[in-house]
Symmetry: C2
Amino acid sequence: MSYMPVTDSMFLIAESREHPMHVGGLQLFTPPEGAGPDFAREVVEILRSRHEVSDRFGRRPADPVGIMGNTWWTPVTELDLEYHVRHSALPQPGRIRELFQQVSLWHGTLLDRHRPMWEIQVVEGLGDGRIAIYSKVHHSLVDGVSALRYMTLTMSEDPQDREGRAVWQKGLGRRRRAAAGPKADRSGGRLPFDPVGTVRQIGGLTGEVLGMLPASLKVVGNVLRDHDYMAPFQAPDTIFNVPIGGARRFVAQSYSLDRIDAVRSKADATVNDVVLAMCGGALRAYLLELGALPDKTLTAMVPVSLRKEGDLDSSNSVGAIIATLGTDLADPVDRLEAIHNSVRAARRVMGELSPLQILAMSAANIAGLALSPVPGFVSHTKPPFNLVISNVPGPRAPMFWNGARLDGIYPASIALDGQAMNITISTNYRNLEFGIVACRQSVPHVQRLIHHLEDALTDLEKAFT
Amino acid sequence: MSYMPVTDSMFLIAESREHPMHVGGLQLFTPPEGAGPDFAREVVEILRSRHEVSDRFGRRPADPVGIMGNTWWTPVTELDLEYHVRHSALPQPGRIRELFQQVSLWHGTLLDRHRPMWEIQVVEGLGDGRIAIYSKVHHSLVDGVSALRYMTLTMSEDPQDREGRAVWQKGLGRRRRAAAGPKADRSGGRLPFDPVGTVRQIGGLTGEVLGMLPASLKVVGNVLRDHDYMAPFQAPDTIFNVPIGGARRFVAQSYSLDRIDAVRSKADATVNDVVLAMCGGALRAYLLELGALPDKTLTAMVPVSLRKEGDLDSSNSVGAIIATLGTDLADPVDRLEAIHNSVRAARRVMGELSPLQILAMSAANIAGLALSPVPGFVSHTKPPFNLVISNVPGPRAPMFWNGARLDGIYPASIALDGQAMNITISTNYRNLEFGIVACRQSVPHVQRLIHHLEDALTDLEKAFT
């Protein structure tokens, strides 16, 4: 048995059938040349043969029923890999639509606490011959950023690599350390941030940070008059800021980084600005259609990199800001400008703070998130922001798993009471991969957002040519 | 809103991620002549078009989160039928084995309390071209007997019937009343009993029954010296009588009623005796293989019909008895005899009781079941019996759903703390359909029981020819 810090156990304690506390991801692969119809089964068999499990993926809560509290991890000597690694199929015609329907259902069920809390679904039956892998892992084991990092470590830039690595495999960490140097550095500057993980980080520092809070508020006092700066709890009430049920919808889509980059350079903005402008435009169109667009703009809690030139310690280089999404503005150019100014103002605030003050400031920004599992909190308080839009760094080159080419890697994050929708974006070589998770009950027709995101990008392209 | 009696809400209150309180069933159908590869999709579309929902299947707990207690049902005006009716597929080669793996996973997840608590999976991809339907419904809505009765009402003896009825459909009850006369009568004598449902029945009578308990114990005092009579809490500790996890295994098999009937008539026993002898023989072989067979015989809680000649009120004609399974006896003939005597002794006890006393006696027999959700109860008390073996009456004739022939209808019941395995048998024309649900963690290799049941039946056939 090993001690379970409260920063792990909080995810077990806050969990209910209304908000499972796991993060997920959907990967799409093209089988290698010459692979037969049994390819998915072969993948299942390789994964089920990986019995040597790392400490992290081989532990479970010592008291799964929770009567004695969640204070200890206990190691599991023998994994039931037939349970953890599941072989599934899509009904005909095996479109992406059928895949999303399955992932929506899988993402809404709780993990078993009597064994290590992760599951993999290997999916065959896609009409185009590809296979999909949906993974879910409890947030008490890893956060979203680490989950994707582990996933990336199983893959290789070499299509001939036939190691068939598994996320839970003992020794995978050594691969990470070997690959750490330049790669970790490169991804360090690209929003390696997970908001729920930050709650964890802040939880670990509570005393220290709470002491800093008044100080940091004083520091930022001067900039708060900046009208571009968004403080928390300025968000309007929306359909996203309600108590939620247990069922989910998941949709996802890839957008070419080249297209986004072209807009970015012409508009003199950042990739992050353009991504937020796409989200803002899509959310405006979506809410207009539902007759549910508030007059006041929606805001998003967004992770940003605050790394300064020459600062090699990336652990203090991210912060949580709140940005406008410009949903009150009909013109895409105005919207992008408002977002750009809002993000810049928030960065300016953060830029004048020490790393610990940044953490304190981020804590103030996401405080509402940490409190959302408290019964009644959501119904009786204004939302601190309307949704989380976050970014997890994925592969920087075309990747292969056991010879199969990775075509997409879509994050599926956590919906919470008061935060009925989450948009998480993963980078994957020359694509940005959007994964949207929403409460099935309170957020209707989520799949429309995919089309609205495309329209919003097209509008931006038109405006900047 | 309508009031939710405690006999419904107890199933919501007792539920946890370790023991979901739903009953399930797996049906196998042969598509009608001329059906194409889209048959499963057509079934999904027919079911999803059944928007007119009955009161029972259209209600959900008014306070799904349970903070205010579960005291009210609230009607749901519009069902999200895409959520309730799911279209699934088996991976290749689509054997029954793959089907059981899927059903095991589906049966282990909790139903969403924010909508009516039932789900249907329509499954394609079986290698032999058949389709499967797995249904689950929360025990607060219906018990296992009623669930199967509703299921049977959607079907017809007429292969030309193309009504495509759904279990939740408004007006299905009228069909029941129309069919009530002779059919209900015929099935009345055939163990229409559900042990968890009996807990419900007893819950509704608590005061009255508790008053009777001393009286009935006095009545049975005389027969307790009968050495064939099994009182509760005489069961040995076994691997089935432990706290359980949330994951399940489900296996099922049909056995010809003609084979069982042949043994029955030659042995001068009842069908129920032969079924218990099959279970006893299979459990002995299974536990021997695991090196986990106790010296003392296992006992089962078994529903029996106690209907007397000319008694037309079937509601008081069932009781819960505890029977030996003869797992201490190597010879199948000795085992069947021990079971026969044990059941007869228990029936004799019941036969001398009034209907209310029978209920009280049954309450005493299944008291352990009602207490199993109490934390610590299972770890610190002897099991009242080793497992529940129950029987739900199914169709008496070959049945069809929208032209598809029903080949099998296998019950999937509830595992509880201290009751890690449940065997439920459904009648289906000339077959007995065994459905076994077990805790995946504490009961290994459940599929072996299927073969051991076959062996046990073969042994009985050999012994009685």
